[in-house]
């Protein structure tokens, strides 16, 4: 068999699969976002831009108006996703630092312990938080028995609950990149910094933190994408009050039966993700250039 034939043989399953079942669906999604919604849930094959107009503000379709609520939900999703990234970073960074300072044997064992619970099903992990946060739940009971509060406070179905849920579910996506970049730091640099008289804090801010920036950026992106488009967490822990883009998309598909509008929302979600990814690629390459000049 010639080299060309072998390459063709190895690549053709993926090529076929990807063209048909990945690029195909994405193309149809794109086309749908420019079609007219039918009255009874189907689509009319006419070019129609009001799907985007309803979100961005120029809709003049017969029954469709621009509604500020879509902007509000978009901004809320962005805000909640960014808060989730930030809190996750603050929780995971000290843990990653702690584990990278342990001896190698313990280190692997602790990494194993940290990743293990996240193999439990997503629904199970969220169910646990429902039990903890509900009005008669564990957290309220503990707080009452400690006399911190007198009667149960509403914790489930708030933005806080959604943030806690997303932070919890996405911990490994932040922790692992952070740990990988902290662990890679050359110990000689830290020793050199100490020898030159810097204390622990200065060493951290001048050496460890700057060198772990790729991990921070990588983890942030990996947490940001699934939080922005999440609909399971806000659905179970946020209820009807804390709607995010994901819930809006789900509703326009399964309840509203307005597929073109749902497709337009998805395209907007993708556009947001792409913008953040471009920012990521740019900042990483910029960082690499900078460290290149240091060396």
């Amino acid at each position: 068999m010639t080299k060309k034939n072998r390459l063709f043989l190895l690549l053709s399953p993926f090529t076929f699969y990807s063209l048909l079942f990945f690029l195909g669906p994405m193309l149809i999604l794109f086309i749908f976002s420019f079609l007219e919604p039918g009255i009874y849930g189907g689509v009319e094959w006419n070019f129609y831009h009001d799907n985007y107009g309803r979100i961005l503000g120029w809709a003049d379709g017969e029954f469709e108006d621009f509604d500020i609520i879509y902007t509000i939900i978009f901004l809320r999703s962005l805000r909640l996703a960014l808060i989730t990234v930030l809190i996750n970073l603050l929780i995971c960074y000290p843990a990653a630092l702690w584990i990278s300072n342990l001896n190698p044997k313990l280190r692997n064992f602790f990494i194993f312990l940290i990743t293990l619970p996240f193999f439990a099903s997503l629904v199970v992990r969220l169910f646990a938080w429902m039990i903890i946060l509900k009005p008669s739940g564990i957290l309220n009971q503990v707080l009452i028995s400690l006399h911190i509060i007198d009667e149960p406070i509403l914790m489930l179905f708030t933005e806080g609950a959604v943030i806690v849920g997303m932070v919890y579910v996405l911990i490994p996506f932040m922790f692992l990149p952070l740990y990988a970049s902290i662990e890679k730091i050359d110990l000689k640099l830290i020793e050199a910094s100490k020898d030159l008289g810097a204390n622990k804090f200065i060493t951290f801010f001048k050496i460890t933190l700057p060198l772990s920036i790729p991990g921070i950026i990588g983890g942030s992106i990996l947490v940001f994408i699934p939080s922005l488009g999440n609909f399971i967490v806000p659905d179970l822990l946020g209820g009807a009050k804390v709607m995010m883009i994901g819930n809006l998309i789900e509703q326009s598909f399964l309840m509203g039966r307005n597929w073109p509008f749902g497709s337009a929302l998805s395209m907007m979600l993708m556009a947001t993700v792409v913008i953040f990814l471009l920012f990521y690629v740019r900042s990483v390459s910029k960082y690499e250039n900078e460290t290149e000049t240091i060396k």
């Binding site: 584990i99 629904v123 199970v124 919890y168 922005l228 488009g229 598909f253």
Partner: protein, 281 residues
């Protein structure tokens, strides 16, 4: 004064360990709560401990229990078992297909030079970077438009679109760490391409293939978002089924189902992680 400084120093020494304990509690306590409550015999308020029982486990498998008749919330055990069966069919088929596609693609990209390599690389990473919900509805529209019925088949097709990429990454990492001179040595000693692949390449990358397959299996078994959109009537998987019960309220049986799921997934994941740590040494 030195005493206070001493205390602060002692404290900061243990600061990380204290933080570690808090961090681990945050990770583990929620799951332990569920496991603990699954043995609570109080049918009215699951938050109040009322003695130890296995009744919730019996009730999800359809056995009669000492619990009040009204306390049986789960519509039918049959539904639960059929969703479990669906889940297993989907994840096993997905694992086989995506492991094949992912491994072949990884071999092609690691061992050959060709023009569209960077295009292929982008095409492999894209399904993992797109939000799940977008991929889910794109597949839904696609299946409905070209007339593929929403069934187990549509779920399997959907899962393979992104799980092939996961397998690809794991196998590629293994291929990158592999010593190519071993293959050359095999050729020099007169082995043909097939023998070399079977005797040298495959054994060396098999930890990667097994690791990728396990990862694909776990993710497929647990996938909710994409499956939620592309599963039809009668092709509900376990996560989708439990999600639909949870949406209707918090019921004590879910504790028992959840505990069983935790145990199974931890066993599979534990075995996988243990196996990986053995082979990477």
């Amino acid at each position: 004064m030195t005493f206070i400084i001493n205390i602060i120093q002692q404290f900061s020494k243990h600061l990380f360990s204290i933080y570690g304990i808090i961090f681990f509690s945050f990770i583990y306590l929620p799951l332990l709560t569920v496991i603990f409550l699954s043995f609570n015999s109080n049918p009215i308020n699951m938050m109040v401990w009322d003695g130890f029982t296995f009744d919730w486990y019996k009730s999800i498998f359809g056995y009669s229990t000492m619990l009040d008749e009204d306390a049986i919330y789960l519509e039918s055990t049959e539904q639960l078992l059929s969703s479990l069966k669906n889940s297993l069919i989907v994840s096993i088929s997905t694992t086989i297909i995506s492991t094949l596609i992912g491994t072949m693609t990884a071999l092609a990209l690691a061992r050959f030079r060709f023009r569209f390599k960077s295009f292929y690389r982008a095409l492999i990473f894209l399904p993992m970077l797109i939000p799940d919900i977008v991929l889910g509805i794109a597949l839904l529209i696609f299946f409905v438009t070209i007339g593929i019925k929403l069934s187990l088949l549509s779920i399997i097709i959907g899962h393979c679109t992104f799980l092939s990429s996961y397998v690809f990454i794991v196998v590629s990492a293994r291929l990158a760490g592999m010593n190519e001179t071993l293959e050359e040595a095999s050729f020099d000693l007169g082995a043909n391409r097939f023998t070399t692949f079977r005797k040298i390449t495959l054994p060396l990358i098999s930890p990667g293939i097994i690791g990728g397959a396990l990862l694909a299996f776990i993710i497929s078994l647990d996938d909710l978002v994409i499956t939620y959109f592309i599963s039809g009537v009668g092709s509900t998987t376990l996560p989708v089924f439990i999600y639909s019960i949870m949406r209707r309220g918090i019921k004590p049986e879910i504790n028992a189902i959840a505990t069983l799921m935790i145990v199974v997934s931890l066993l599979v994941a534990g075995a996988g992680l243990y196996f990986r740590s053995k082979t990477t040494k």
